[in-house]
């Protein structure tokens, strides 16, 4: 049966289908419904819900619970995300699976608590110090929010990384009909767990693309999780060879698997003259504009990014082949556009449509440029 659920409710449904058993968070508009629903739903399945003192503690609690074997999630919005960044780095370095939902609102700073924005896309990529790759999903329908929350858990478990689900105020409160029953059997992936009898190293890796097996705290093995650069035992190291191996592995476990991580929808037509690239709620504006442009006889390609990080370079190149201009509508000052420009170089004119007044882009604003 179809249900009329909101984006925030869809995150909750996706998390529960994926096997989430732990949530720690601090309420912030427009993400708070995620916490309030999970505070009811998690105890019903034997899971744990904690309202923490702030967002720093929230992600820290998630990291601890993940290391104990839970599938974990926290949700926040821009101001809370800024506080979480230190622990994003911790989760990267200690290689801890976790899902972070960022319900974007207008910024900077406290900004617009009840209005939409898409201004955190580069922050999740670069916000924590030291340099690292990241995975971020950008669903644009309520069904996609369910699916890509599940995907976020799967990818976090496969690669032992924090994975971001980037929604926004409008998607969070947008209600659409979703067939949740059909999503109950969505494929689920669990982390690799070390056998109880084998000799365990917390960061055992043979090659620079390996993801070490985990063993939960309180289980059969001595486990170390460290934010200091460490060797395969999890002990601090200053050996350049071991440092290089660890850092290259953090980078390449994501980078070398970009093709299988990246998801997008491309809707291409022969002899297209323009391409629209978009994501999240702006992809909905774009989809309408492209449909109307085509109905008026224009030849337009459309590319919807469902994985924003790693950025799907190849999909952009393919969709832009032969077109004269590329239009990138987004609710910030060009955070996707700079990536599109990087991928395409100076060969094609990239037209930015940027809006930061708390409203979503109207299809007419895109049609004007097509």
């Amino acid at each position: 049966m179809k249900k009329f659920i909101s984006g925030n409710e869809a995150v909750v449904e996706g998390a529960l289908i994926a096997g989430c058993t732990f949530y720690a968070g601090y309420p912030i508009t427009p993400s708070s419904e995620i916490a309030s629903h999970l505070s009811v739903r998690l105890p019903q399945i034997g899971g744990k819900f904690i309202q923490m003192e702030d967002e720093i503690g929230s992600l820290a609690a998630c990291i601890g619970a993940s290391l104990c074997g839970h599938k974990v999630m926290t949700a926040t919005s821009g101001p809370g995300l800024s506080l979480m960044l230190e622990n994003v780095g911790m989760a990267i370095m200690a290689e801890v699976p976790c899902v972070i939902v960022d319900v974007q609102r207008g910024g900077p700073s406290t900004g617009l608590a009840t209005k939409v924005g898409q201004g955190d896309m580069q922050q999740v990529r670069w916000g924590s110090h030291g340099g690292y790759p990241i995975i971020a999903m950008t669903p644009s329908t309520i069904e996609e929010v369910v699916k890509f929350t599940i995907e976020a858990f799967n990818l976090a478990e496969i690669y032992r990384v924090p994975v971001f689900v980037m929604t926004d105020k409008v998607i969070a409160q947008l209600r659409e009909d979703v067939d949740l029953d059909s999503l109950q059997n969505y494929p689920i992936t669990n982390r690799k767990i070390a056998g109880s009898s084998e000799e365990f190293l917390p960061y055992r890796a043979e090659t620079v693309t390996d993801v070490p097996a985990m063993s939960p705290f309180g289980g059969p093995h001595l486990v170390r999780a460290s934010s200091t650069t460490h060797d395969q035992h999890g002990r601090p190291t200053s050996d350049p060879e071991k440092i290089a191996f660890k850092n290259e592995r953090l980078f390449r476990k994501i980078q070398d698997n970009s093709d299988s991580i990246c998801q997008y929808q491309s809707d291409l037509m022969p002899e297209a003259e323009a391409l629209v690239v978009s994501f999240g709620i702006s992809a909905r504006s774009s989809l309408q504009a492209v449909a109307e442009a085509r109905a008026a006889g224009k030849k337009v390609n459309f590319l919807k990014l469902l994985t924003f990080w790693p950025f799907p370079d190849k999909a952009v190149q393919d969709a832009a082949r032969g077109v004269k201009k590329v239009i990138v509508p987004e609710l910030n000052w060009g955070q996707a556009a700079v990536e599109v420009e990087r991928v395409l170089g100076s060969q094609i004119d990239v037209i930015r449509i940027n809006k930061t007044n708390g409203l979503i882009i109207q299809p007419e604003e895109i049609l004007e440029k097509l």
């Binding site: 179809k2 249900k3 009840t114 947008l174 299809p363």
Partner: protein
Amino acid sequence: MEIKLCGVGGQGLGLAGRLLGEAAIAAGFHAAQTTAYGVESRGGLSTSDVLISEDDILFPEVRHPDVLLLMANKGLNSNLKGVQHQTLILFDPAVVSDPIDSPGNKKTYPFLDLALKEFNNNSAATIIGLGALVHLTKVVPFELIEEAIRQRIPAKAHQLNVDALNLGRKIAGG
């Protein structure tokens, strides 16, 4: 069909839109609802857009309303944006000034006065308005809205809301 419910925070516009959406999907349609509101919990500009279609809904905000339910004067000019000649505009002249310069098929009803007299409850005004809207547009079967009320609203308020909905139908000629 594109339906826009407009008023201020606390009037239950989000709920009314949700009831419409739930009735629509029960009737086999696709539906999308977006809401806009300010940081105030009461009294700020509040709107609820509902789109109901047999096809997938691409853009989830109302652009050219088929129906507009105006429950407050606040934000009137922006709420009238996109209104066309055939747009059905329902409003209470006691609280909303006549959008005299705007196109549209205007119908006035004393939603607030009835809510206070019949139910001693000003929030019932929006559900009375919803009853009138559903009767006039036939956008969803009336009984599916009643069913959505039973599913969505706490039991102790079922009767009041069903009564308010039916009063809306009655004043609209049903």
